[in-house]
Amino acid sequence: MILIWLIGLLMGGGLLAFLVGQWNKTLPRWISLYTLIIGFIALISFWVEHYAAINIGSTDSWMIDFQQDWIPSFGISFHLAIDGLSLLLLMLTFFLGILAVLCSWKEITEHLGFYHFNLLWILAGISGVFMAMDLFLFYFFWEIMLIPMYFLIGIWGSKNREYAAYKFFIFTQVSGLLMFISILALYFIHAQNTGRYTFNYFELLGTVIAPQTAFWLMMGFMIAFAVKLPVVPFHSWLPDAHSEAPTAGSLILAGLLLKTGAYGILRFVLPLFPEIAKTYAPCAMLLGVIGIIYGAILAFSQTDLKRLIAYTSVSHMGFVILGIFAFNELAFQGVVMQLLTHAISTGALFIMAGMLKERLHTREIDEMGGLWFQMPKMGAIAVLFAMASLGLPGLGNFVAEFLILLGAFKSNMWLTVLATIGLIFSAIYSLRMIQKVFHGPIPASAPFSDFSWREVFIMAVLTISIIWLGLYPQPIINTARPMIKQMEQLFPTEFKNQP
């Protein structure tokens, strides 16, 4: 019941913020902040409550399940359920949601009610995606998160916002509709086999599909998730959307929207089409490696701070693809870690880019420099997160990328070797970013203020989390373990025996 309650909370909070926004110019902020805090506390207490049960190692990876008929004539039900992975991503959703509200506190002054309506509805859509266990419902939420995101970029974005908003929307919509065709095809194939018309995930899992058809169906799903993730040939919407979106928008895009792609692959592509996934795993891993290196090179050559950070996302998400298609426990653990740590480290970088833009009114790296002297606090934190993003031991990203490389090494040595080069590249672009922004000559301009108490709070929370994830990731790995175990059972051990 907590699941439907969470979505209702977000949607209701959004509506309330919208209505109140017509009369009051500050209240919507507080409404969305409290909405998210309530949801976050509820999730944390749920986690603490169930944590003991997870550690016992029960065979059933599902913690809670809610099912209600929705459109019975088509076998569509309102079916929500979560396992460890969903729970972690849900907590991440609410966590980043709170930060998104906080970091847009000063930045957004116009049409506040509608802004917070969009923000909360994006989060509602994302939460729905992480919970839905009915393929129709999943697609429903998948689409719901798009429209508010489109508005968020298109209305509150920076100069080139309309182009970026269109591009984002059309990329994701095309791929989403291809997935929808695949879902429908799966539905009819399942009905032909068994005579039962249903979109229920658990019933569709065992559907027997001819390999030729299965390949096309998998491609439908895969393209949708690859666009979101993004995997390299499908990434071109990402730098535009990230750089034009307001800070909270970039934070949610990088921290959450990209994660829905990875979640989709883990939840749907691998369990529904294990055989095909196994056949094409080397291709997917190759794309991942290309993404790692290509993203890093492009990140190095950017002059726009937000675009630079956006391309680092492409690079980091390459690790996710690499890890997912390595099909072993270590790599899966690494993927789960990477999803969380990337959200935090890249989110922090985007927030700082937003803060710089508030002060300097530019995103051009060439116009920055020497900021350390005026903003030592921000400089220190920026170095910390740049280090996190290049994978310094002791911070969360190191654990994630190390586990992924360790796992991937077992299944494909040469690609892993290539991927490792990405770590060197990431050091190069991160250091270049720090060098250009915080060191070097000081441009002649008015002094800037360092962090305010609100910004200190945001950064403190993020710093604590990334260090915690780097030093003691065990609770996260424990939470995701039952789910990872199940994934591993789909792919028997032949990979482990390879040299």
Binding site: W70, E143, I144, I147, E162, V174, L178, I181, L184
Partner: protein
């Protein structure tokens, strides 16, 4: 027996009677407001009379009509749309240069034509219904006879509709020549044993398709659409987009089921080509439109293409999907045109896309309604359009029409661009402090807004909880 016939035809008789009654009221010089209100009442009465129809159905009135569940559903839809058109018309016509009163007479006649189409079971009643509808529309489209756009649209429609009627008649004649009957039910028997179509019948059907295609505005018979949509008064445009197309589609469905056309490969190929062309070309042409009425005209071409995707497979899901999508399309189109009507001023129609700038900040309620309607046309979840598209895709894919489904998906994706463009315009720009001026007719403005809000809630309700409408449609089926 004759009494039963009369009671079965009660909605149609009421509509015909209302036209006469309103004419009399005009003769004794009632003012616009009382004419409007009395016609509204008469529409409501006609609508309610549908619920009084006696069972058991289907009820045949040989040889012309058949009253069955499906025709009741279509009549209900048609009268409901006319009712909405009637309500939003007052604001639009009040204060315009022409006397608006005769407009209501014509509206009744056109509605009657649409309803006759929905119950016709015979070529003669088909043609009669079509002509009652079309002739009424000639006058409605050119209602503001001093404005050159209206005249242009009226003449265009007149010439093309007359031509298409000629094609239709010739086609009917050929089919009659081949089969020796004009009654749909009788045709079922005559064609029952044949597996390939006789050439004359095929020719006749082709000619008939030209006539029908013109009325439905599917590619390649779509040339008139944009001009007529733009030129006609906005409430009339919404009437053309809904009632006129819905009635014709209903008769097409009935005829096709009667001759079981789904088994003839040649016919289906023609339909597939038309459907693909309509979806692709309709959406393409809409992309660059600056005029919202023209844009909606092209989008309606594409929507008729979508409808054909559900219709072509001819499986158990087809007709419910078509009915569902028609209902959704009616509600959505009425809402969109309703907003255009409300926002139109005395001199100019609200049609240029630039006039919509910052509408969201000036009139948030109207802008929300308009966005919802556009999103529903684009088929975005939470709106009825999404469920409608899902239904259509399900119907197409069930019988394995992959190509149609893919074309639908791809064309609706680039079609999305122009809906988004309008929505973008609604949100762009700054609030205009001068725009808070008082509306001229506050009462009718309020009533129209309430009706449109109701339609919007309907769109959202169907989008979130479609089971209700699905069950209703399941009940009102051709059997």
């Amino acid at each position: 027996m004759i009494a039963n016939d009369l009671s079965a035809l009660m909605p149609l008789l009421l509509l015909a009677g209302s036209a006469v009654l309103i004419m009399l009221l005009i003769a004794i010089k009632f003012n616009h407001r009382s004419i409007q209100i009395s016609s509204l009442l008469l529409f409501v009465i006609s609508f309610l009379s549908i619920f009084q129809l006696q069972k058991p159905l289907p009820y045949f009135i040989e040889p012309l009509f058949v009253i069955d569940d499906f025709s009741i559903f279509m009549i209900g839809l048609i009268i409901f749309s006319s009712l909405v058109v009637n309500i939003i018309s007052y604001l639009y016509f009040e204060g315009k240069e022409e006397s608006p009163k005769e407009y209501y007479v014509l509206l009744f006649l056109c509605t009657l034509g649409g309803c006759v189409l929905a119950v016709s079971n015979h070529f003669i009643s088909l043609f009669l219904g079509l002509e009652v509808l079309t002739v009424g529309l000639y006058a409605l489209i050119a209602y503001f006879r001093a404005r050159h756009h209206n005249i242009e649209a009226g003449i265009k429609y007149l010439i093309l509709a007359a031509f298409s009627s000629a094609f239709l008649l010739f086609g009917m004649a050929l089919m009659y020549f081949q089969l020796g009957t004009m009654n749909f039910s009788a045709m079922t028997g005559k064609l029952g044993t044949i597996s390939s179509l006789p050439p004359l019948f095929l020719t006749g059907f082709g000619l008939m398709l030209i006539g029908i295609g013109f009325k439905l505005a599917v590619v390649p018979f779509h040339m008139w659409t944009a001009d007529v949509y733009q030129g006609a008064p906005t409430p009339v445009t919404s009437f053309i987009a809904t009632v006129s197309k819905g009635g014709v589609f209903a008769v097409l469905i009935r005829f096709f089921i009667a001759i079981d056309g789904f088994r003839f490969h040649a016919l289906m190929v023609v339909f597939v080509v038309i459907a693909i062309a309509s979806m692709v070309i309709g959406n393409l042409l809409a992309l660059q439109q600056k005029n919202v009425k023209r844009l909606l005209a092209y989008s309606s071409i594409a929507h008729l293409g979508y409808l054909l995707v559900a219709f072509i497979p001819g499986n158990a899901m087809s007709i419910p999907a078509v009915s569902f999508y028609l209902a959704v399309y009616f509600v959505t189109t009425l809402t969109a045109f309703g907003i255009l009507t409300i926002l139109s001023s005395k001199e100019n129609d609200m049609e240029n896309i630039n006039n919509f700038k910052a509408l969201f900040w000036d009139h948030p309620v109207l802008a929300c309604i308009f966005s919802t309607a556009l999103l529903s046309l684009a088929g975005i979840p939470l709106t009825a359009g999404f469920i409608g598209k899902f239904y259509i895709l399900a119907s197409g894919l069930q019988t394995g029409f992959w190509v149609l489904a893919l074309v639908l998906i791809l064309s609706s994706v680039y079609g999305l661009y122009y809906y988004l463009r309008i929505i973008n315009t609604l949100f762009s720009g700054q609030q205009n402090p001068a725009s808070q001026e008082k509306t001229v007719r506050p009462v009718f403005y309020l009533i129209s807004s309430i009706v449109l809000s109701f339609l919007t809630l309907l769109i959202l309700w169907i989008g979130i909880y479609p089971s209700g409408l699905m069950q209703l449609i399941e009940h009102f089926q051709i059997r």
